[in-house]
Assembly symmetry: C2
Homo-oligomer: 188 residues x 2
C-alpha cells in the first residue's frame, strides 16, 4: 500500500481565545490550504521561546482548535533546551511548557509543547478498504539512499481525511524524504 508523505515543520495550533491574546482583534487569514480538508497555513508566524532559547517564524495553522499546541522536532527541542514527549495531537497532559510571542501579546502554556508522533491520516472507509481494520499502528518502508523501516506509525482515523503520512522534519531529513514523496506501508 503506497502512501504520500507530508512533512510537518514546527507549527502552532491555537484556540480562538489564545489567538486574540496574541493578535488582538485581527481575523485569522489563510495563506494556503493544507492537504487535510479544511486545514490551512495561516499568514501568521510567531516566536516560540523557553528560558534557554527561542525559535522565530513558527507558522500558525488553522482553523482554531479546542486546545493550544506547539509541535516541534527533537532538533528544535535541543535548541530550546526542553524534552517534550512524543504525542498525538490533543494529548497534552504532562507535556512541556512553552511561551508563544505574538504581535499583540505573549501566551505562556504550562503544557502544550509536543513532538508529534508519526501518523497516517485516513477515513474509517479507507481503513476498512485498505485492510487495516483492528490495527492502530503500521510499519512503513522508505526507499532511497538512506532507506529503512519506521515502526509505530499511528493510524489516525477521521471522517474528513486526506490519505497521507505525516512525519516531522527529523524523520523526513533522516530518510531524505520530501513533501509528496511516496512510501510503502508494509505491515501492521
Amino acid at each position: 500500500m503506497k502512501v504520500q508523505v507530508g512533512v510537518s515543520n514546527r507549527h502552532i495550533h491555537l484556540t480562538k481565545e489564545a489567538y486574540k491574546i496574541l493578535c488582538g482583534d485581527k481575523e485569522i487569514e489563510a495563506l494556503r490550504p493544507l492537504n487535510q480538508p479544511g486545514m490551512f497555513a495561516s499568514t501568521d508566524t510567531f516566536t516560540i521561546k523557553t528560558e534557554k532559547s527561542e525559535i522565530p517564524n513558527v507558522r500558525v495553522l488553522g482553523p482554531f482548535r479546542e486546545y493550544n499546541q506547539v509541535e516541534i522536532s527533537r532538533t528544535d527541542a535541543y535548541k530550546l533546551g526542553v524534552n517534550p514527549p512524543i504525542r498525538t495531537s490533543g494529548d497534552l497532559k504532562g507535556s512541556e511548557a512553552i511561551t508563544i510571542v505574538g504581535p499583540k501579546g505573549e501566551l505562556h502554556l504550562d503544557e502544550g509543547l509536543i513532538i508529534a508522533d508519526r501518523h497516517i491520516h485516513l477515513t474509517p472507509e479507507m481503513k476498512k478498504i485498505y485492510g487495516f481494520e483492528g490495527k492502530t499502528k503500521v510499519k512503513v518502508f522508505i526507499g532511497g539512499e538512506k532507506s529503512g523501516i519506521i515502526f509505530n506509525v499511528d493510524l489516525k482515523v477521521s471522517d474528513e481525511a486526506y490519505f497521507e503520512m505525516h512525519l516531522d522534519t527529523d524523520d523526513a531529513n533522516a530518510f531524505n524524504l520530501k513533501q509528496g514523496d511516496i512510501v510503502d506501508i508494509i505491515e501492521d
Copy 2:
C-alpha cells in the same frame, strides 16, 4: 549483535595547510578525545557559510587529514541552501562547495561538503569474529518509542577502530537516540 551509538554533530576535518590559512601559526589543541583511537575534538570552532546562510560554532576534529571535509546534516543543508551528497569520509569528488571562516582567514572549498553515510567503525578482526566477512553494509534495529530499522549502514574497517555506529543528528533525532545508546545489528 549490539553496537553503541555515536552521534556526529556537524564538524570539520582539515589538512595542516588549510588549518594554517584559517588559524595562522597556532598549533591545533585537543579539547577532548573521541572514541575512535587518536581522534579528538579540537578547541576550534569555525563558521561555515554559503551564499544563502551560515552556521557558526562548527567544531574542528583532529588530527589533520589528507583532505578538507565538512560534514553536516540534511537539516543543516536546508539552512545553508545546498544539496550535499551522502558520502563516506574522503569520497569528495563532485560534493558541494563550502566556505570555512577562521580567525585568521577564510577558505573556500569547491568540493568537500557532504552528509556522512550511516556507518559502523570496526577492525578487520572484529569483522571476522562478528560474522560480517564478505559484507559491506548491515541493517540496524533501533528500539524505543520511535523505533525502526535503518538500512545501508556501511561497515567501515580500519586497523585502529572503536566498535561504534556513527549517525548524524537527523538520524539520531528521528529515532530519539543519544550518544552511548545501544542498538542491534540485525542482518546484512
